[in-house]
Assembly symmetry: C2
DNA sequence: GTTAGGTGACGTATCGTTAATTCACCGTAG
DNA sequence: CTACGGTGAATTAACGATACGTCACCTAAC
């Protein structure tokens, strides 16, 4: 491995100068000729700074952790892109973790937290961490930022309530009145979306249906729809709190012989490529996940720089309805 | 931050003893009483070793990189689990990267390769890296293992050819004769699956259809089916080379008014949760991706230990057909 | 002619950990 | 009474990069 010492020897300067050339240290100056010689030597010897040494000296690794609920959830696809991109802007690398690995006592969490492996942590959905881990998280010195509302941490979020409103408003405009809200686990974001639904229903003078929060994933959507059909008045439309649950709703509808959108309109919250390729293609509210990732990283870097960061919902980018085929106007039957 | 020096001071010993207690160094001995005092001090002060210092000293980070094509491809879900699990067994952490980030010249790739950020690299689908990156990969000192056949690296793979055979054999047993093979990008694995299809067709005395390798993803499946229908004799069954393309095939079939499985049987290669929740639920060949991840990590650790590692297909776990609703026996029409 | 200030560069302590070397002490064998 | 081996520990030199303190040299102002 080529070190600064090798460069120094080759260029006939001291390591201090090499380091100064690399970091542009104001303190140590050098002539243009010297700088050029050093740069030449670095290129010739194919020098690459040793990260471990750098981390030790600077007490900073240039790596941030991103902890997600289910890595394979397609809604994270854009979030990941945003996070990786923004981290790269700051010259940083991203260590990706699944919340599953955050069980307290696991190698992974300890390592992240206290061993200086990362400079900061971005987490999505606090509700997933058990109390021990949360305590550990709070006690350790590196900044943490939540990508969802958090009572005890700095956070950045997207307007989940608005997403619920948009989906509901769309269905109301299509003359639906019996609209139910299906799916969603314990997270704050999930509840916010229901809140948006609730508000919009009340604004229209309608009674919101209870939250059929049957959980997360395809099965939850299927269960939710079956429960919805037990209600006194069967719904003509559903808002689905989650992209994978939307798949479950479509499956259950098919299994029960309910035609979508003719007999049941479906609007999903969150949009991914899959929604376009299901049949019927699913009308969904696109959430600005890419932008959330970006904003989260920038805010985290603020924190890591010791500066203040204002928590809140990002307002530059709003949830946006993508109209496809799974919802249609209610015709008087 | 608590360091070994703090422990040493508290326990009234030297740092050498602390290090020896931690690492069990044979060279430096100590009495049981001393060891106990050191351990007590470590607990009291909540000592966590500094990874940067460790990495610098040992020239080893305990981190391996896993580079995938599309992170959000659900088939990686089980692979990830296998990799993370096996890495944890070795006390390691996984740095996850998308091949997109492997564009040569990017921060990420350089960092991985030469700056000692990781001890080894696991890559899936070599075809994704451009020549510059591959050259860099080969020139750098850390071991690399491919999770797919590779001419120039050690590799571990799954039996993709067998998967093609299984899918085709299943359809043949259902009396299908006009079977086409759809989708797949440039990877070796994709071609192997077609090869399996080809072999099985020939074994049945049938002429294999040309490989409708329209690419990767939902759109590819849709395009592939449309192309298949242009063939002289329309197919009664398709093998789909890729899970997302299967979604596209179903969508195109629906759009074209072709009923699955009544008019067209579909078998997918690779299985993910989604397949169960599509309608019709997709019959698919489950690939041992979890086991591939495990085997890859173990082989990589062999390489990192300077030992030899035999490249090849893992045989302990075979591709396995999961029968659902998208394929049915051909009845004489 | 002396000195103040600027320029260009060097030497070295430091980060926390590991491991090779050295050392002090004690009991015992010769 | 001395030499010796074993035990339990301390000292210290790396690992590579960074930044502070220092210094030699040159020019120009007084």
């Amino acid at each position: 491995m080529t070190t600064q010492r090798d460069i120094a020897r080759t260029a006939g300067v001291s390591v201090a100068v090499v380091s100064a050339v690399i970091n542009g240290t104001a303190h140590t100056r050098m002539s243009e000729a010297t700088r050029a010689r050093v740069i030449q030597a670095m290129e010739n010897l194919d020098y690459q700074p040793n990260q471990a040494a750098r981390s030790l000296r600077l007490n900073r690794t240039g790596m941030i952790a991103l902890i997600l609920h289910k890595l394979d959830n397609p809604v994270y696809s854009h979030l990941l892109r945003g996070v990786y991109g923004a981290a790269a802007e700051h010259g940083g690398t991203v260590l990706l973790g699944d919340a599953e690995m955050m069980r307290s006592g696991s190698q992974f969490v300890t390592r992240l937290l206290s061993q200086g492996t990362v400079d900061g942590i971005l987490i999505r959905d606090n509700s997933l961490f058990d109390d021990d881990v949360l305590a550990e998280l709070r006690s350790h010195p590196k900044p943490i930022l939540s990508l969802d509302y958090a009572r005890d941490h700095p956070w950045v979020g997207i307007d989940d309530c608005r997403a619920g409103e948009i989906a509901t408003r769309f269905l109301l405009n299509l003359h639906h009145r019996r609209i139910v809200f299906i799916g969603g686990a314990t997270g704050y974001a999930f509840r916010q979306r229901y809140l948006g639904y609730q508000q919009e229903m009340q604004r229209a003078g309608l009674e919101p249906a209870p939250h059929l929060a049957t959980g997360f994933g395809e099965q939850a959507g299927s269960d939710g729809l079956r429960q919805a059909l037990q209600l006194a008045a069967a719904p003509t439309a559903v808002v689905v709190n989650n992209i994978m649950s939307a798949v479950g709703v479509l499956a259950a509808a098919r299994d029960l012989g309910i035609s979508v959108p003719d007999q049941l309109s479906v609007v999903g919250i969150h949009d991914v490529g899959l929604m376009e390729h299901l049949r019927p293609a699913v009308t969904a509210v696109r959430m600005p996940m890419y932008e959330l990732g970006q904003a989260g990283v920038h805010a985290l870097y603020e924190l890591m720089a010791g500066r203040h960061c204002t928590s809140g919902i990002i307002t530059d980018y709003e949830p946006e309805l993508v109209v496809r085929d799974s919802a249609t106007a209610l015709t008087d039957a």
